[in-house]
Symmetry: D2
Subunit: 308 residues, 4 copies
């Protein structure tokens, strides 16, 4: 698929202006005190193309907390390390419930529906951690991101991690609940500490779009991830990447995506492009409000929907 990069850049500039003019930012996540301080009236977009170019508009050099977007990369590490074994501990079906729901976990005896809801991501992080110290597990995720993005300046924001450790009661509940079903191998506080730090990774949309190229399997990317595994990550992102708003994202955007409560979304056009958008105000499902809108407009403009 040939892309007219000049036309696309002009479109991204118009889109950024349009989004600022709308003054319809949604609300920032208020359950993580450190994130509640962020000004919602911000937007950034970056697109990495198959030919190696990186387009961007808005605050594409500003760092934000990638939060749940990290779950895609943790899962990539775990699939690399443990292969398909992880599916004995976590499913791959959309949950139809909120990102932090504990309800199905009781009905389904401690096996989370998928690795992108919080309960499932805790299991994935736990698998990554097993046999190692938290620092080593986190180093692996960071190393993966840095190699994928071809950039070393990617770090964890300890203030955000600490903020979550102090107030993340629902995640603490989920981890202990999983442990009660023997679906955590490590002490809950160790898994939680690793999880909170992984979620506190900071990136710019430029960095995130470049890191996503490996999931889009663009030409010339690092061989960190096989095509088969990238395909599977994309399938999971399509059906489960936006919690109980996944169907709506697929319907409106038509591309695999993974959102984070920090307002970032990684959107993949397989073989064509890797897109990162960021706007910290959220919609009712906990996904970036203007980020979703931007993804929809980009898909419409480019015709990149996988659904024809």
């Amino acid at each position: 698929m040939t892309v007219d990069a000049q036309a696309l850049q002009a479109f991204l500039d118009r889109l950024t202006a349009d989004i600022h003019a709308r003054h319809d930012w949604g609300e920032v996540a208020n359950y993580i005190p450190e994130l509640a301080k962020v000004d919602p009236a911000q937007f950034a977009v970056s697109i990495a193309l198959a030919d190696g170019r990186l387009l961007h508009a808005g605050a594409s050099a500003r760092r934000f907390s990638i939060q749940s977007v990290s779950k895609v990369f943790t899962l990539a590490c775990v699939l690399g390390r443990h292969g398909e074994q992880i599916w004995t501990r976590v499913g791959r079906e959309p949950s139809g419930t909120r990102f932090d729901s504990i309800l199905l976990l009781e009905q389904e005896k401690g096996r989370p529906r998928n690795p992108f809801i919080n309960a499932g991501a805790l299991v994935t992080t736990d698998a990554l951690l097993t046999g190692r110290a938290p620092r080593e597990a986190l180093s692996e995720v960071l190393a993966f991101l840095r190699e994928a993005a071809e950039e070393d300046d990617i770090h964890i924001d300890p203030a955000v991690a600490l903020s979550e450790e102090r107030t993340g009661f629902r995640n603490i509940a989920l981890a202990n609940y999983l442990k009660s079903f023997d679906n955590l191998q490590n002490a809950p506080e160790l898994t939680l500490g690793t999880y909170f730090h992984q979620c506190a990774i900071e990136m710019t949309t430029d960095q995130l779009a470049r890191a996503g190229r490996i999931i889009a399997q663009l030409p010339g990317v690092s061989p960190l991830l096989t095509a088969e595994k990238a395909r599977r990550l994309n399938a999971l992102m399509m059906t489960c990447g936006h919690y109980d708003g996944s169907g709506d994202f697929a319907f409106r955007v038509g591309l695999p995506g993974k959102s984070g409560v920090g307002g970032g979304i990684l959107v993949i056009a397989p073989g064509v492009a890797s897109i990162a958008v960021w706007s910290p105000g959220l919609n009712l499902y906990g996904n970036s409000h203007m980020g979703t809108y931007a993804a929809e407009q980009i898909a419409k403009f480019t015709g990149w929907s996988v659904f024809g």
Copy 2:
């Protein structure tokens, strides 16, 4: 995407032989007496390609009850007739529950999660019926299928419809439950009668693959469906087409699909091909066991996964 039709035909022949050799057919649906009589040890596959060719293998000229595959076409008719209004009455999120579940309907006050679970399909059929006699509504679905398939020999099997009317207590419950929330506009027995007849449409995989070309938006298809609507149907088929096995189908096959309890699955490779498989034995989610296997093998052989 160029397809080596000769190689694909040879592959379909091998696949058919392989499936017969496996003797792993699953179990036929036993809650519809008329379907319970069908021999599970059957398989058919047909693929309509963009260049107009139709490949097939196995019992591709044998008629089977398309059952829930019909929901895609009813929804297409309703989108044509009523546009996007239907989304006020039914959602577009995966449900995470069985095809005939009533549980979420209570929690969500009579608004089904999506148009492909039974409750949602009853709402779609009800919308198609409003203002008309059941016969007219059914004629529209049949006319749509016939024009899409370019073939007139597509009919309803009255014995199957009657069998469901006599024993479909769970669907009768769903329709009356919807009515109690004012989310049916017609008398429950009228909507149910139309629904049971729509599900009792009989087709061959050849016919179904040809009808699916309109959803795949292959070159030269009837303009019955806009590209925009086809894209949306594909998105819904990807996230909701296999009930609580939708995530698994996306993960394994990577293509939008819609299954029916009669053992048929319509699988779409947007812009590339329309695939119909049939094997009446079902897996635990109520989807064709060997049909799913066949779809997975075809996707692997052709590389048609939308996920790269």
Copy 3:
């Protein structure tokens, strides 16, 4: 327990005046059109004492639709006819859900939690009906009530029964759902017809209080019910008699009771008295708002709480 009947009568008169002065009637059930017409500003109370006296105040000679209060008497008939077998088909635990909930029925595979929620009452009525025509089953319930009340002028209001048959979609859903689990022995429409007619029995509080003496096992009552069975009915009324407001009724009143959506409540002081109250306005749980208040005040005045 000796009762000062004169003081109690004076109290009932004051209570009736107090209730009319409060102008806090709640709302009449609006889902049964025939009941929606009833004026909520009405109140009646009757108390049958162990010594044979019947006290009353308010509109105690006005007939009202006993609705779910009938479930106690149907269950009494079924226990007489089938003994404890009924417990294979229905539980005896509080449900924690609304009277017309279908949710637990899915999770618990068609076995209702108790015989006083609608799903369980449908099973009880179905058991009463088996092997007979609806007319005969209804005759048995009426004959039981007439013998218990020692009064023949107790009848079914056909307009109310018809009103429910036309609009009782949720009950139709429940019956068909039970049938889908093979937990109805008769055709759903037969069981439903019998159920709607049983619920449409009309009585005055005088009649209901007299009929309740058999459950209170007051001296000299008809031997229709063994002491053992009366005890068990009382236990069920205590834990399940007010749907998801049962705990609150036990907490505030301290006596077994069974409410109906027509505004009646039968309250039992075992061995001491049978109390019937009626006021058609309902609270949030679907139980009579002023009826509950009256029961609470009577229990406080008399000290009849079984809890000391």
Copy 4:
């Protein structure tokens, strides 16, 4: 009600022999390692009568972990200290779910159904703790029990408390989940520590029966608890005292009761007697298997059922 104490003593002796002869003990709780060591083949019963006599049979001088039976006394303390305010934080309806369920807590936004399921008991303990150190709160519960039982030799077993602190992941999950809804006022680990210690109180059936006299409001008991509050505790014990087996206990025994996972049950015949039974093997609902049987036989023999 006059009681033939001699006949009752003879009955208790026969009952104890009968229970030992049955060899049908159930299984001891295995999720608390320290309790899993207990021999299930044990039984004790003690009955405190209104005339001051204490009857007993079996191992009535052996200490056991009272576990959830403590919830009745903590609630009594909280009602004394805070009055009816506690009902803004916890309901008084049967839950219809397991003792450690977290499911309803999500649906009902952190307000537990009643103070006897684990989530509700954590809230009660949290209320008792507020403004004080855990040691003081625990001292109040112990002081209450000692005064009620008129005996000082009642203590906490620190090994059991520690065992729960190390493995009580589900309770840790519940406490953190409550905290996420702002329905804990103290740090989860403080409330949990207090809760685990309160549950680890050890008593004999003699002591427990004597302590229960205050809830039965037997003549001459300590004025620690008003008659009104005792009545309300009894109502809660009747509808919620045995988790999702409460309806069955009411049906079979007909008396308010509260069970603990250590195998103890406190059963109250208001105004007549306080009964403690103990047998560590549990039934499917987590209530003492032979304890329930004994309570049923005692109620049958004595005719103490509150239901007539």
